[in-house]
Every structure is written in C-alpha cells, then in structure tokens.
Amino acid sequence: MSNPKIALYHDDASGERYEEKAFQKTGVKYEKIGPKEMVLDILEKYDVVFLPGAFPLRTHDKGGFFAFIKFLKRINVIYRSHIMNYLKDGGGVVSVCASVASMGRRMAIPLPIRPLFIGANPLGVFDFHAKYGPKTGVVDLEPVQYKDSPHARKIVSEVLGDYSEDQFSSLYFRGPAITYDAKHDIIHPAIKEGEDRPKEVVVARYVDEDPELKDKGAIVYREYGSGKAISCSVHPEFSTWDLFDSMIDVVARR
C-alpha cells in the first residue's frame, strides 16, 4: 500500500504542533485541515484523520477557556455526523489527549463548565467513559493481556507495535482515564462475554501509582462501521513517537 494520506486537524485551541513534531521525526507526510475542512466530502480524501489535544488556557496565540470549550463542542456537535459517517465509510481516526473524551460514550466534565456542554454529548464511537486525568508528567503504561481472546491479543500487538511486549513510558498532560463502568473495569463487556471478534479493545493501561490513573485504560482501539479508530490519551510524541506509525498502519483506510 502506498503511504496513507493523513489529515491533521487544527483550530485556535488545538495542540497539533506536538503531532507535527512527531511526524517530522518519522517522516510522515500530512496535511493540516481546519474547521472549514471538517466535512465528509473533504475528510473522504484522507486515509487517516488525526484529532489532536487542546489547550484550556490561552498561551500566546493558542487555546484559552472558551476556545477549548469550542474545540470540544465542534467535535461533539458540528463535526459529529461528518466524523461518524467518515468512519462508517471506512475512514481512520486517531484522537489524542483532550479529544479522546469526545470519542467515547460519556465524558466526565468538571462541574464549573458542565452547563456549557448541555446538548453536546460525546460521539459514542467508543463505548468507554472518559474522565480527564489529574497530573502532568511521565506515566508508565503496559499492554493489556487478553489470555482468552486471540483477536484482542492481535489488536494489542498491531496497535502497539514494538511496544506490545513490555511496559513503556509516555508524556502525559491530563488526558482522560478510560473505563467501562463504575467498578472501573477496562475490559470491554463483549470480550467478557466471549465474543470472538470484539470491536473495541483497550490495548494499553496505566500502571502509574496515581489512583485516578492506576489500571485505567490509556489507549483504545475500535472498529466502527467499515472504519477504525484509536483513542490515545497520552502524548507519545516525545519519546515513543513511532507509536503513531503502528496506529496509522492499523486505522488507515485500505
């Protein structure tokens, strides 16, 4: 297959510069697309769409409280049908850090800004619940072991690539911790029920000691319609940037 065509979303709150740095290191070619290009006709031109993180407080010319809210609401409301139809038609989406919460079924919104999110439910591409994390720093992750599901094991191996055998570390900027229920389970219910080809698989979990992160999901894979999506709540761009390579390989439209 020739190199997949990659789109990197940006707006006035997005942190796409980190993805750009990673792509520059690995030589990945990409095109930046803005809010006006987030429509199905344009998305269909790309094999993978990257949704980066965002800055909740303004720094220099980027981010800020309202820009951050707008970033999430744009994904949840304005781009909603375009992203979902793009995925259904076989597209690939990789969401990173802040945008991960928009991809799940439920996002825990801090109380003071909750009213601003009325009518802006997350997309529900994934089944997970996402809660923004507590700290900034280096976190340790490990591949999730699936003894009874060969398909889930294969997904873990494909998504994590060289990092599927052992613990690894990543930079972390308060990305969402991922679970499926109040017991903070990270094994998708379909896998528990013994489904042969589960559509959603948590591939990496936090082994960080912080109780808000420990054993919660960090990187999740999902098949949606004919497409595939990966949600990555950490920032691999600073030491494990080649993780993006395996993610691109997995989700790129065939």
């Binding site: 407080l57 800004i113 900034t136 280096v138 340790d140 600073f238 940037w241």
Partner: protein, 178 residues
C-alpha cells in the same frame, strides 16, 4: 481543570529533569540519525568522562569554547523543542531547568548562589564536576564554558563566565551577560 501550558510545562520539565529515572524514560533513539533524543530534542551523544577530561586539559580558551558550544546546543535543543511553552519563562526558571538537565546528563551538581535576572549576573557553585580534581582555575574552563552556554540560552544573551574560586570539593563560577 485549569491548564496553563507555561506553568504546566515548567512543572513537567522539573518533574522529568529532577529524576534521572524520568529523564531516561523520555530518551529514545532518533530514527533520523541514530542519535539519542531526550524529551523529543534530538542529536545527543554519550561521551565518556575521560574524553571530557582530555578536553579540559587543552588551552583554557579552547576548553571554554568547546564547553560553550556544548552547553548552548544541549540546552538549546530542549528549548527549541519546547519553544512555545517556554517562551515566556523568566531566566531564573530557565536556569533552574538548565541546571537540572546539566546534572542529569553528567556535568555535575550546581547550586545557584546568586542570580539577578535584570542585570544578568549569576554565581553558581559546582560539585562533582568533571575537573574537580584540578586545583587550578584554568582547568575548569570546560565546565565554565558549558555553563556559560546553557545560561546564554536561558538569558537570551551571551553570558561570559569566569572561574571565581576552586576548593577541594567545589568550584564557584561567576557569569555576566554582555
């Protein structure tokens, strides 16, 4: 969930640079040139201590110049990688990060004795530096140059360093901006 990228980055960088274990978790081999990358900044090499000791025995001007370029490039690499996040950090905070980095990559432990941001005057005390066994001030030129290089990036202007005092277990450096 307030997230101010400048102070968040400062906190993050301190967390990484103050713990050797964390710094090396952020190390990777660059796919472009096979050289080491630290926190995404590329182009680092591991140089044996004996190599550095040899540099320090050159003429003092030559040793200072080699150290200066090394300091400028090493801290400059990190500053370039995180340009937007650190653009507004004051020299005092950048100096703190630079000295943590210097320690973690083996240049020695450094303590700020005096720092005046507006007048760009800094006095540092170094321990476990590579030339510590030498009692002559000129033999400390390599580390002096290295520190002048990192401080030049931290202050955004060329800093000139001199060795003020050499003791058995420490050495004092004075730097001032041009």
């Amino acid at each position: 969930m307030a997230l101010d990228m400048e102070s968040e980055f400062y906190k993050l960088a301190k967390d990484i640079l103050s713990k050797t274990q964390n710094l090396y978790k952020m190390a990777a081999i660059s796919p472009n040139d096979g050289r080491l990358s630290l926190m995404g900044a590329e182009g680092f090499l591991i140089v044996p201590k004996r190599h550095l000791e040899r540099f320090s025995r050159g003429t003092e001007e030559r040793a200072y110049e080699l150290g200066f370029v090394c300091g400028e490039d090493t801290f400059g690499g990190l500053m370039n990688e995180f340009d937007e996040e650190i653009r507004e950090l004051p020299p005092k905070k950048l100096t703190e990060l630079a000295l943590l980095m210097s320690r973690q990559i083996g240049w020695g432990s450094f303590e700020v004795v005096k720092l005046n941001g507006p007048s760009a005057q800094v006095t540092l005390k170094g321990t476990t530096t590579v030339e510590l066994k030498h009692r002559s001030a000129k033999h400390h030129s390599l580390t002096c140059g290295f520190l002048a290089g990192v401080l030049s990036r931290a202050f955004g202007k060329e800093m000139k360093g001199t060795v003020e005092e050499v003791k058995k277990d420490s050495v004092a450096f004075v730097f001032s901006g041009k």
